[in-house]
Symmetry: C2
Subunit: 431 residues, 2 copies
């Protein structure tokens, strides 16, 4: 069922390029709608938010205050969920917290030879908004992955928005918000939620940065408010690339491909292996396992539409292809993954060895599951504590230390015809 490719095919480069291309269309209709929603919420605040929530989420509320979910309600959800789920959420949260603590960045300073103090003061954002998708794709793990890094960074106020279509709420999501230390939760979604977080309304506080994945309206809205607030990245469909040396149980690899494909029809799962016989065995596993899967139609559509089993000349060619595709998730399902690691140039997250399934990283290994998609691992990083910290440069010159600097600045400023700059530096010179 999955397409088979071979890197020795003359048109291989073009085929893999075409298969992996994902152009988020600059949809004018979407952009126009989003622009209108942003303007309405910026101008009319709560009233617009209530009206869009009624229109898009079939959720009628008499006042914006009723869109808020209280801390007591979050705690209630935490008490009410089953013990296994609670324990698993808490174990995952503890591991995610520990991992992200390694990302905390500290202010630094040094003195140069002339005694001038230089450095950066690193501080947490005052506030952050986290967008959690609602309805059927409402995932408690996403709450942990978005809120915990903000919490570890020391963000003052974490505001979560999650749409509740028809009033439907996911208890696990609420419990996760309680565990992750979210400060306020509002049942709003879509572009109107992004607008509320960016501009603030009478009820929803404006935040400094908005993170978390959403649909095309959310992505368009984030792009438009970028600059007024910070945003994390623009998310496309989820992807996995598996590089296998043929030593992993084919059922395991088939299931790893499924775990990506089950997200949605546009998700992408690709396997690279130098062993054609192994690819046959994985194909057989896929055929055998697929009918057992709860999400079989989605998996089938994804694998048939965007998946591929690719025979490569060798592992190093597989790595080269991977570097070109810069996958969101990369499994190195090989006997010696540490040997390949230094050659990996671009990937959101790297899962090393046959025991490290992507799903472990999705939930509880510790690293973040909000990752760059659509080749953007070339320049974006996983969501992290660094997304919730920012830096201020520090410069302190002494009366002596300024002498050399002042002269250099004066020459350069005059070279740019900026004489106020020059004179401002020259004032600090002794004669």
């Amino acid at each position: 069922m999955m397409r088979r490719l071979d890197s020795t095919q003359t048109d291989f480069d073009a085929r893999i390029e075409q298969l992996t291309a994902w152009e988020e269309e600059l949809d004018h209709a979407v952009n126009d709608t989003v622009r209108e929603i942003l303007a309405a919420v910026a101008e009319r605040g709560d009233a617009a938010l209530l009206s869009y929530t009624a229109q898009f989420d079939q959720l009628e509320r008499a006042s914006a205050a009723e869109l808020e979910i209280s801390q007591a309600r979050l705690q209630q959800a935490l008490r009410d969920i089953d013990a296994d789920s609670r324990q698993a959420l808490e174990a995952a949260a503890a591991r995610i917290r520990e991992y992200h603590q390694h990302q905390l960045q500290d202010s630094w300073q040094y003195r140069d030879a002339s005694g001038n103090l230089l450095g950066q003061q690193i501080t947490a954002l005052d506030s952050a908004g986290i967008y959690v998708p609602g309805g059927k794709a409402s995932y408690p793990s996403s709450v942990l992955m978005n809120a915990i890094p903000a919490h570890v960074a020391g963000v003052g106020q974490i505001v979560m928005v999650v749409p509740a279509p028809g009033g439907e709420l996911n208890e696990l999501v609420l419990a996760a918000a309680a565990i992750a230390g979210v400060d306020r939760v509002f049942t709003v979604g879509g572009a109107q939620a992004v607008a509320a977080l960016a501009y603030g309304t009478e009820t929803v506080p404006a935040v400094d940065k908005i993170v978390g994945p959403g649909n095309i309206y959310v992505a368009a809205a984030k792009r438009m408010v970028f600059g007024r607030v910070g945003i994390d990245m623009i998310a496309g469909p989820s992807e996995i690339l598996v590089i296998c040396d043929g030593s992993t149980d084919p059922d395991w690899v088939a299931m790893d491909l499924f775990s990506q494909a089950e997200h949605d029809e546009n998700a992408q799962a690709i396997l690279l292996c130098p062993d054609a016989g192994y690819l046959d065995r994985v194909a057989a596993s896929i055929d055998e396992l697929l009918p057992q899967m709860e999400r079989e139609p989605i998996i089938r559509a994804s694998l048939a539409g965007r998946g591929a089993l690719v025979k490569t000349r060798d592992l190093s060619e597989a790595v080269a292809i991977s570097n070109r595709l810069a996958p969101e998730h990369l499994e190195l399902s090989v006997a010696d993954p540490e040997n390949l690691l230094p050659h990996i140039r671009h990937a959101g997250a790297i899962f090393m060895g046959p025991y490290t399934s992507e799903s472990l990283g999705d939930y509880c290994a510790g690293p973040n599951h909000v990752l760059p998609t659509s080749r953007s691992a070339r320049f974006f990083s996983p969501l992290g504590v660094y997304d919730f910290q920012k830096r201020s440069s520090i410069i302190m010159c002494s009366a002596d230390g300024v002498q050399e600097l002042g002269r250099v600045a004066s020459v350069l400023a005059r070279g740019e015809s900026l004489t106020a700059h020059a004179r401002s530096a020259e004032y600090r010179l002794k004669d």
Copy 2:
């Protein structure tokens, strides 16, 4: 000439808010033009780039290859500029390089209690594009500030674009490119230059990230290509906020305000001081010094339109106001700046003590002069080496180490009805 405000005025908050508000208009005409330019360059490559360059920069070239400036030409500029300028550029570059080396981030790893390996692999971007404004605002210092952090990060290829209106080139800019280690230079600008860097043409290579400030067309283009490539930030007009305790020579402070105001009429210079008599003395200095300034009309327009001398109750209120405004440049022109520093929440760069004029930081102190404007220091950082590095998460589980993780992942995945995720984790469990 400058407006005087007092923090005890009942409408002070509203007045300072209004004075510092800067709304980059969502100008539909600009957006439509930019969208058209991006589409044309994406589709027709060099041909479109040549045609826009002729149209907007009055620069006619027979082929796109002629838009490139050779390394030999850069070296020639470096040889030809006067010795003082060369020495100053090289001294500044050395200091900027040293400072930015402190920002390099290293890969990190640790093992958890179960022996699983966790961490992040940190690598440089393959390529970066730096936008350098051309014409009268073409600054060699901007070349150093954009290119050196990329170079320190280890970016493989640094591509610079700088418009050359009517063919006019700034020799200092070319010399700075030689010093900073820029790999390729193209004389293109505007949205068409951003498009060329984002999509690539037959001649201009596509890059992974585009940094550097530009006009409103450049800003709109950067916003639109964000996601396909990385960008640094969206720049507004430049600003300085000076907090003074009244002990600094009023001429020095007046000149520091001028040095910001001389950039353009929209630049903003504000002084906060608890001593009304001192504000009078600075006002007198301004009146006296302004007629001597080469850029007097620009400075006058900026100070009259957007400047203010503000009397505050005390220094700590001045700090609170500064935190609300999150200035790009903040001078703490006070006797004990280290005492105030921990209370500064948001600022692009902090210049401490009377000897540390902003102009030192603009050119040669070491820190970057590409800084967040328009209150975006709440969430953006100075341009830095971290802008040219990205991270890949690393996870490697052993057969034993996966047992606990696998169980947690299984529970959470089933809670989200993602059974392929669950089964993929469960395969790795020893019953």
